[in-house]
């Protein structure tokens, strides 16, 4: 275990979105399903979902929620943000120590501390629904353990904007808040569409998003990851790393020769600046360094947290990549 991997481990949130899809995603977007109901009687009464409700989550698991959940535990900040955006903040009885948005969630009981789920505390919170994160953001052994104890555990792992929309719809059903989910999605779609239209037809600069640089290993958007797809939507051509480790070798970065460098890690480390990047050995030949196109992204949290605020992140990316179109 070398320091690089240790440090990468200690900053789980940094890598959250930079990872490509390794969750066993089902074909197409993971939509909700109601087994046993024919299309004719699947029409719910106004604003109502019928419980018990069986949904399929992003890990392909079938999850049955016995009743409209009044007590919810969220095991990831992105899940917390989704629940709160669907007006379920009041129902949250357990969150993580990373939670900071909306502000009230910082004061909720913490059941995940330093990326470790305290299963005893989850059980003591007596949840009727647990929102977990996929791809080992919530450890798979914890998911199995909680599911074996009989809790409905919904695993969310959106890998692009469309899958996030599907997840919001999914949580909307689980919380019997379909109308709120529809309103939220209408707003998110409109804002994302506005970004896409604003950058349409523009040059697409080769864009390297620096998630982190630990002991010489460069972490960026993994190939096929949510972050890479956001950069594409924002009008850039993402320079991607390995789909699993999200790392990139300096040689590959030099070969890809980015025209624009976005410093996501500048949000957490003030010593990462355009000047420090230019001073790194081997980086001075990059087109972006030569032309001075190095932009710190202080909104990194919004860019890398797959919640409703991801459209804020998309807007931040687009205005960093195409400032001329957002004046």
């Amino acid at each position: 275990m070398d320091t690089t991997r240790l440090r990468a481990l200690l900053f789980p949130s940094l890598l959250a979105l930079a990872v490509a899809g390794c969750a066993p995603a089902s074909s197409g977007s993971p939509g909700p399903s109601l087994p046993g109901s024919s299309p004719t009687d699947a029409v719910p009464s106004d604003g109502g979902v019928t419980f018990p409700l069986t949904l399929t989550d992003d890990a392909g698991r079938s999850v049955t929620i016995p009743a409209d959940p009044e007590r919810i535990v969220s095991l990831a900040p992105s899940n917390t943000e989704i629940a709160c955006a669907l007006d379920a903040c009041e129902q949250l009885v357990g969150v993580t120590d990373y939670d900071d948005y909306p502000a009230m969630t910082a004061d909720l009981p913490e059941v995940v501390i330093a990326a470790q789920v305290d299963v005893e505390k989850v059980v003591a919170a007596d949840p009727q629904l647990i929102l977990a994160a996929g791809n080992e953001l919530t450890s798979s052994s914890v998911i199995t353990q909680l599911a074996d104890l009989g809790y409905p555990v919904l695993v969310l792992y959106p890998e692009d904007l469309d899958e996030l929309y599907a997840d919001i719809t999914l949580v909307g059903r689980a919380l019997d808040a379909e109308a709120a989910a529809d309103d939220l999605l209408t707003d998110m779609r409109a804002r994302a569409q506005a970004v896409v239209e604003a950058v349409a037809g523009a040059e697409r600069p080769r864009t390297f998003y620096e998630v982190g640089l630990f002991e010489g290993t460069i972490y960026t958007a993994g190939e096929g990851s949510f972050l890479a797809s956001l950069i594409s939507l924002a009008g850039g051509e993402p320079v991607t790393g390995d789909p699993l480790s999200t790392s990139l070798q300096l040689e590959d970065l030099v070969a890809a020769d980015p025209e624009l460098i976005l410093l996501g890690d500048a949000a957490y480390d003030r010593s990462v600046t355009a000047a420090s990047v230019a001073a790194r050995p081997g980086w001075d030949g990059l087109a972006a360094v030569q032309s001075g196109q190095i932009v710190p992204i202080l909104d990194d949290l919004v860019v890398t947290r797959p919640g409703p605020r991801i459209v804020d992140g998309l807007e931040a990316l687009a205005s960093a990549i195409h400032p001329e179109r957002f004046e």
Binding site: R5, L9, C22, A114, D118, V123, S245
Partner: protein, 367 residues
């Protein structure tokens, strides 16, 4: 190398007095009971001592007690803490006893349960089990039950541990003999190759790295009744079969040739002891990951206080290993769920050093 030379002295092999045996085993049993009660009663969520006792009485002894506690308390005590504490005890006992056996068998004070390839083989197996559904998503789709199925990880770790030792043993064997030094060196070489595989898989693992890391550090966080049901019979069988072999272990301490003169079928006995200790180690590792330190140090601690007679050493190592790991895991839980291997090393190593220095001063030997 003091232990190696000291264990060859005949004075060390004098039969322990009945009183000393009673004190050591009685103390160990008492410590196990105290550790069990403390580790079940204490945790990150407070459940009153009365409620804890009542829940255990109701579930284990079927006492007709009224339910005066929230159902979450019952889940915490009976489904989370009790299987976890029992797992810690089984694993601790198994590793300590396997360490005792390997130290005697290899006549090497640095021997631990993992020394001839168990850890590397089990790690490679477990990591393959963790990564299989990640690398081949087709396997995980459709089942819808266990995501990154935990059972697969258990099974792969167990089989990986056994297979690597079988490989080491057969490579080390020549002309029907397995010299101890060859066995150690072969174990080291095979472990290195397997460890390279582990490192490669870790590098490629992406987010699953956290799961792999926690497995490698050793963790009892995912202990469950089903894991216990898998490991308990295997460990119990190896406990029983090893406990009755104390006389042969004592003979092997003297060296292969003296043991043969004492009537021990040396090569066959070495194979049996290796396989039984490996069985215990693999079963323990399968449900807890590679928890370090316990298997190395508990046998030494006991040898320093009781002498090297395996008639006493084997049962004592089970008891003290069990109590030590249960208490260490309690510490790990209270420290916010850190890997238990950190606690065993952090608290156990200084204590071991203190005991080592004290016993040297008392015996007056310098080495």
């Amino acid at each position: 190398m003091r232990a190696a030379t000291a264990t060859r002295s005949h004075a060390y092999l004098a039969r322990p007095s009945f009183t000393r045996a009673a004190v050591v085993l009685g103390g160990g049993a008492a410590l196990v009971v105290v550790a069990l009660l403390a580790a079940v009663a204490i945790g990150s969520v407070g459940v009153g001592i009365g409620d804890t006792a009542a829940i255990l009485g109701r579930r284990l002894l079927a006492l007709p007690l009224p339910e005066s506690w929230p159902s979450s308390a019952e889940t915490i005590i009976f489904d989370l803490r009790l299987p976890r504490v029992l797992t810690a005890m089984l694993v601790g006992g198994g590793l300590a006893m396997a360490g005792t056996v390997f130290q005697a068998l290899l006549r090497n004070p640095m021997a631990d349960p993992y020394i001839i390839g168990t850890a590397a083989g089990a790690s490679l197996g477990a990591i393959a089990g963790i990564l299989l559904p990640v690398l081949l998503p087709a396997l995980a789709i459709g089942a819808g039950t266990a995501w990154l199925g935990l059972g697969v990880v258990h099974l792969f770790a167990f089989v990986g541990g056994l297979l690597s030792v079988l490989l080491v043993y057969s490579v080390a064997r020549s002309n029907g003999r397995v010299p101890v030094v060859t066995l150690l060196l072969t174990g080291y070489a095979v472990s290195s190759v397997l460890a390279a595989g582990v490192a490669l898989l870790m590098f490629m693992s992406g987010r699953a790295l956290a799961a792999i890391f926690s497995w490698l550090m050793g963790s009892l966080a995912s202990a469950s009744w089903s894991g216990l049901a898998f490991a308990a019979p295997l460990l119990a069988a190896s406990f029983g079969l090893l406990l009755v072999r104390w006389r042969r272990l004592n003979a092997l301490l003297l060296g292969d040739a003296p043991a043969a003169h004492l009537g021990v079928d040396v090569e066959r006995e070495k194979l049996r002891l290796t396989m039984l200790a490996t069985l215990a180690t693999s079963a323990a590792v399968a449900i807890s990951g590679t928890i370090g330190f316990v298997g190395l140090v508990v046998p030494h601690l006991l040898r320093l206080t009781t002498g090297p007679d395996h008639r006493l050493l084997l049962p004592a190592s089970i008891l003290y290993g069990a109590a030590l790991l249960a208490l260490a895991d309690l510490g790990a839980r209270l420290a916010g769920g850190i890997p238990v291997g950190i606690v065993t090393a952090l608290l156990g190593a200084p204590f071991f050093l203190w005991l080592l220095r004290r016993s040297r001063r008392m015996s007056g030997t310098a080495s």
